[in-house]
């Protein structure tokens, strides 16, 4: 399974990477803003994408909308410091499958990944 991490903070990407590797995921690609992420998305066809909200050049919510215009299926997890209910709803409306608020505990990050992938698998089998 290939995972794309999109966050302008390399520190955050490193933390996410170490959690993912502990879970046995070693096929990881990265992008530091929405524009770079769109490129990576087209080139790498990832199976799961983590998306930060606040980033330069193209923010995460715009990226989610751009991806959902062409792809309804790839699971997207928003991982952001934006915690308000209104933002969570906005992201869900744009098409994210799950939402992680920073600061996160590494265990809860792992849980959200498992949850998201299981749901995506169930939907794929049902369809």
């Amino acid at each position: 399974m290939k995972i794309l991490l999109v966050d302008d903070s390399r520190t955050i990407r490193n933390i996410q990477k170490s959690v993912l590797m502990q879970l046995g995921h070693n096929d990881i690609v990265e992008a530091s803003d929405g524009l770079e992420a769109l490129d990576q998305y087209k080139r790498e066809s990832p199976d799961l994408i983590f998306i930060d909200w606040n980033m330069p050049n193209m923010d995460g919510i715009t990226l989610v909308r751009k991806i959902r215009e062409i792809d309804k299926n790839t699971p997207l997890i928003m991982c952001t410091t934006q915690a308000e209910k209104s933002r969570v709803l906005e992201a869900i409306k744009a098409g994210v499958n799950n939402y992680v608020v920073k600061p996160f505990m590494t265990e809860s990050l792992a849980e959200k990944i498992t949850q998201t992938m299981e749901k995506a698998k169930a939907t794929a089998t049902a369809g």
């Binding site: 520190t11 490193n14 933390i15 410091t81 915690a83 308000e84 920073k102 600061p103 505990m105």
Partner: protein, 168 residues
């Protein structure tokens, strides 16, 4: 600045350091910033716009900043490390994001982090309202959180705060 607005920043600071650096924060009494700016070696700044205008700044010494970044990143990060500013900026982002969640009904946008690094510099905001300094202490050292915020309108309510041990 309305002192009631300071509590969300205290809660967010405690949550951020507990979750990302595994350290509790002991919070001192917030004070109105007067006259001379206190100097710090590292200032991580997030601006607010929208229904609130202002900024939150984490002020740290090089020593505390390096220890904090190292604990957060899970690897040695000294002030020369390319990720030093990135790590501290991201912590400030979490404090700002966590705090704004408490102002219900307001649409507040946060800026990308700016991090100023330089021995004993000061950061001055030209036209922001009176600013408050929140002294903080963790097992990684002391730092302070500076908050200056003006609401264009009052929040519908301020979310109930979890106990932080502060302001009691």
């Amino acid at each position: 600045m309305d002192v009631r607005y300071v509590n969300p920043f205290i809660t967010a600071t405690c949550n951020t350091f507990q979750a990302m650096c595994a350290t509790p924060v002991t919070v001192g009494k917030p004070e109105v910033k007067t006259g001379e700016d206190p100097s710090s070696d590292v200032s991580a700044i997030i601006g607010f716009s929208g229904d609130a205008t202002g900024a939150v700044v984490l002020h740290l010494s090089f020593d505390t900043a390096a220890k904090t970044a190292t604990r957060f990143a899970g690897m040695e990060i000294d002030p020369e490390h390319p990720d030093f500013a990135d790590a501290l900026g991201e912590l400030a982002d979490m404090v700002a994001g966590g705090a704004k969640d408490h102002f219900e009904g307001l649409n507040i946008n946060i800026s990308l982090p700016s991090v100023v690094v330089g021995k004993a510099h000061s950061v001055s905001a030209s036209k922001s309202a009176p600013r408050l300094i929140i002294p903080c202490k963790t097992d990684l050292g002391s730092f302070s959180v500076e908050v200056g915020m003006v609401m264009d309108r009052a929040p519908a309510r301020i979310k109930k705060l979890e106990a932080t041990g502060a302001m009691s």
